[in-house]
């Protein structure tokens, strides 16, 4: 039996509640690793970001995120996992994404959490557009994200 929760939503989420849910009513979980991604107030060039809008391809987003989650389940002995990703307009400080993974031991939890984030970054169909004083512009994909994702290839 594979447990997972994968969701795309406009609303915020409560990381504490989401992490607690992974161990609720069970005592076989030895490790929970989690990652929360947030909107920064500056871009890599130091410009002030007023807000960002996350566009998505709704019909594909959920499907691709589920494929990534199944891939993680196949690679590591995971007891449960949660992926939440927001879309729409978000202001600095807002949470964008949560990945939380439960396993018997920490190594699987740490690795699966990093794997899921690397693959979300390079495969989930979302696009960020940042608003600065110089106008709005699409964020470019980073080569470092591709390299981070490629390190998981056998």
């Amino acid at each position: 039996m594979i447990f997972m929760r994968v969701r795309v939503q406009a609303d915020d989420f409560d990381p504490g509640q989401e992490i607690a849910r992974l161990t609720q009513g069970r005592a076989d979980v030895g490790a929970v690793a989690s990652f929360v991604g947030c909107v920064r107030d500056r871009d890599d060039q130091g410009r002030v970001i007023k807000a960002m809008t996350l566009e998505q391809y709704p019909a594909m987003t959920q499907a691709e995120m589920s494929r990534i989650a199944h891939e993680a389940q196949a690679r590591w002995p995971l007891q449960d996992l949660t992926i939440l990703h927001r879309h729409g307009r978000l202001e600095p400080g807002a949470r964008i994404v949560l990945v939380a993974v439960a396993s018997a031991h920490r190594q699987a939890a740490f690795e699966a959490c990093a794997f899921l984030m690397d693959f979300l970054k390079t495969r989930a169909p979302f696009w960020k557009k940042e608003e600065t004083d110089e106008g709005a512009q699409w964020v470019s994909a980073k080569e470092s994200d591709d390299l981070a994702s490629e390190r998981w290839n056998p």
């Binding site: 391809y57 594909m60 964008i96 169909p125 979302f126 699409w138």
Partner: protein, 83 residues
């Protein structure tokens, strides 16, 4: 064939979707992109650099040699930047 465009691809082409009749000699993703490049300046420019063009057929990533059919939903978009 239903075509969908996202992010700056959508903005440069000035549309988020369109329906085209697939010419019979267009059989792969690569041939489809070539066909679209021939539809005008905006298409030629938006699709000029294959390194920053991603294609999904029926919600699954596709490669240049993958086959396309008239009944497919094909999405064309730049490299993703979520997470």
């Amino acid at each position: 064939m239903k075509l969908l465009y996202f992010a700056w691809m959508r903005e440069r082409l000035g549309r988020d979707e369109e329906t085209i009749v697939l010419p019979s000699d267009v059989r792969t993703v690569g041939e489809l992109l070539d066909h679209l490049r021939g539809r005008g300046h905006a298409y030629a420019q938006a699709l000029a650099d294959p390194r920053i063009v991603r294609v999904a057929i029926n919600h699954t990533y596709a490669k240049l040699h993958d086959p396309v059919r008239d009944a497919d939903e094909v999405a064309i978009f730049p490299p993703v930047t979520g997470g």
